[in-house]
Amino acid sequence: MSRDPIGLAMATMSRIASSSLVEKMGLRTTIEKLTYQGTKTGFQALGAASRQFKSVTQLLRPERLEAPAQPKSQFDLTISEEQQMMRDSVRAFATEVLRPAASNSDVECTLSEDLLSQANELGLSYFAVPENLGGAATERSPVTSMLIAEDLAYGDMGLAVAILSSIGVANALTQWGTAAQQSKYLPAFLDENLLQAAIAVNEKRPLFNANQLSTTAQENAGGYVLNGAKTMVPLIDKAELFLVAADLNGKPRVFLVESSTEGVTIALKPNMGVRAANMGDLILEQVSVSKDALLGEDTFDYEAFINMARLGWCSLALGTAQAVLDYVIPYCNERVAFGEPISHRQSVAFMIANIGIELNAMRLMTQRAVALAERGKPFAREAYLARVICADKAMEIGTNGVQLLGGHGFTKEHPVELWYRDLRAIAVMDGGLHL
């Protein structure tokens, strides 16, 4: 593939400066900045210069989190006190920090350094990394992850994705990674300079099907050679590590690809929404990776991997849809037409009732699938149906949110147009997250 001038310049610069050298010479910021500038204007460029990953603790066998101990297998909609505390602090962060930053982040297509460091202070990645590798995770907690995703998205979906992208990779490594993969990468998610990473599944074609990938992996003596292109990859110009879904001998698998691997190029490609997540294309041309780059062992469950992302997007949909509901209620109660608040009209009120009903349904469907996954039970059917409901109803809620505000909803005076754009992603997105 031919590179444009800026891409070529970047390539040269990156080849000279191996990642460890960049770090040593204090050039990292410069490189990142250049990369950013290049991609910002839509040119293709190299991925973020990746750090030198080294295993501090060498695990002999992979760390796996057990399902939490449950007293009884019965229908129970309550959450634990710890989960409630977590929700309270995440919800506060979402309303006080993320929501006010949403509009600007949408325009700038990025999560600012300042916001990122504030998000890191929440310490969410600690819950993705097992104790033996320095984290705080002692048991599987997709339910907690779901609640966090919902609450972050209540602030802003794009920013939520930017924050959760790396944590999703950590979750995936904890759930599926080999001992070597875990040892090598997981501690970096706890670094002061937190490892940014992303899951790349989507490809740019109509009727995309995550089970039938155009991106391929070819096995050779040394490892694998990857070819193909991914789209809608979060943190595209910041991620140092990608989990890339590719077809291996007719079956989809996932590969760990460091951003500075030869043959990896990226392009920032903003979408109609979720813009703060810094999404873009990841292009792989004759990318050679080692045998160790194949995520997990033979027990790896690609379908579950995909579903843990879809359920992540369902969780985000809950937060954004709740934001719509909480926004249209006061608006319609205050907006007067024909001498009374428009909420006094059934045509308006019933739209709001239906938002409430379908949102409640979306939430229960998502919770059910995630709770099954947490207990290590089969959840493919439940995840599929949750996705079906969330894909349909989230968009319906998004479009009705704008409708209820009329012309005002169509302008950037109000956030409903942003939510409308964000909610379109739910049916489209594969990858990007992992609960």
Binding site: F75, L207, N209, N333, I352, I357, E358, A361, M362, L364
Partner: protein, 400 residues
């Protein structure tokens, strides 16, 4: 957090489904065709259910099990409300019309359960109770009823006409809503338990209906019908502060049950449709919904809506079991289940073509039966009104 049923409720659901297979499905078409004939086979079913209800410590199938649990309990409960929903779902998978005319399992029993005092509950135990609310001039606006109850010594004298009384010609007791004083508004509406054979109460007509034909739907007139004051359910005072609450509270209990009926009927249609289409479809819950055949996508969407309705129903029942106010959730469940069931049963007929439309299959029957489930116990529109008022914090004067 966990949204699966405990083993005892799964067993209960299986039992109800098995009973449906053995005892309801075989007579389903017969009583759909023979409208107004009493399905005598149900006497056996009812006595089996009585046994189950007594034996299982309340984990029964019937509507009379739906009691709001108020007492504080350690831990989360999956109790009688949930059990009733699970049982009813299994039964309505068999036949909703037959369920509605099951002796001693009527919605009137649920009403008694919700508002009766201890003495009344005891006295009416084992009796089959029907609900009489609707009047020729009063449908969904049940606060506007005009049947009157005038006190005369130890008796109330009832006058008026009730329609759409499910099991009205078969039940032992008719629970009648009447006003003590029309001018006093909602607060004056009370419910009375009128026993069959009470002079002045007369069944005047049986309706011919679109569906649920096995269930009789009666018009009942009250002409100077004297009812002892001990049969007034709940508090006889006209308390304007509490207002309509007393009688309306019944609905918080019964709406999840009707939602459960819808969930059962929809499941019947969905199961049968999947079976009939199995050579034409491949359902693996994996391929994206936009990449599968149209019929498969329809089935996925129906199944997702069905699960949504089921979970909303369980949520409302679970809240009742755990002493949480569930008025809005009960209406959400009823709204979603009612419309989902109607849409699903109709779509199933469409997917199965001539096979679905004909009387060799029960699909066309379920699609007729389902319509009432989006109407009685509060129409779709009434449920939406309730939900909207709650969400918007508006009164019935503001959001009419």
């Amino acid at each position: 957090m966990y949204l699966e049923l405990p083993k005892k409720l799964k067993v209960l659901g299986d039992m109800a489904t098995n009973l449906s297979v053995e005892m309801l499905r075989p007579i389903s078409r017969k009583y759909d065709l023979a409208e107004h004939d009493y399905p005598k086979e149900l006497d056996l079913v009812a006595s089996m259910l009585d046994g189950m209800n007594d034996g299982e410590g309340g984990a029964g199938v019937g509507a009379d099990q739906s009691k709001q649990k108020k007492e504080e309990n350690a831990g989360v409960r999956n109790g009688a409300n949930m059990a009733a929903c699970v049982g009813i779902q299994g039964f309505c998978w068999g036949d909703v019309g037959l369920l509605l005319t099951l002796p001693r399992q009527g919605l009137g029993n649920a009403a008694i359960g919700a508002v009766a005092n201890e003495e009344q509950s005891k006295r009416f135990q084992g009796k089959w109770a029907a609900m009489a609310i609707t009047e020729p001039g009063t449908g969904s606006d049940s606060a506007n009823i005009s049947t009157t109850a005038k006190q005369d010594g130890d008796y109330y004298v009832l006058n008026g006409e009730k329609i759409y009384v499910t099991a009205g010609s078969r039940a032992d007791i008719i629970v009648v809503w009447a006003t003590l004083d029309k001018a006093a508004g909602r607060a004056a509406i009370k419910s009375f338990a009128v026993e069959r054979g009470t002079p002045g109460m007369e069944v005047t007509r049986l309706e011919h209906k679109l569906g649920i034909k096995a269930s009789d739907t009666a018009a009942i007139s009250f002409t100077d019908c004297r009812v002892h004051k001990s049969n007034l359910l709940g508090n006889p005072e006209i308390d304007t502060k509490k207002g309509f609450g007393g009688v309306m509270q019944t609905f918080d209990n019964t709406r999840p049950l009707v939602a459960a009926m819808a969930v059962g009927v929809a499941k019947a249609a969905l199961d049968r449709t999947k079976e009939l289409l199995k050579d034409y479809t491949q359902l693996d819950y994996s391929a994206p919904i936009n990449s599968v055949a149209s019929a498969e996508a329809e089935i996925y969407r129906m199944e997702a809506d069905w699960e949504a309705a089921r979970l909303l129903t369980l949520q409302a029942a679970w809240m009742a079991d755990n002493g949480k106010p569930n008025s809005m959730e009960a209406s959400m469940a009823k709204a979603k289940a009612g419309r989902a069931c109607n849409a699903i049963t109709l779509k199933c007929v469409e997917l199965c073509s001539g096979l679905g439309y004909g009387e060799d299959e029960l699909l066309e029957k379920w699609s007729r039966d389902s319509k009432i489930l989006d109407i009685f116990e509060g129409t779709q529109q009434i449920q939406q009104l309730i939900v909207a008022r709650r969400l918007l914090n508006l009164s019935s004067a503001e959001l009419k």
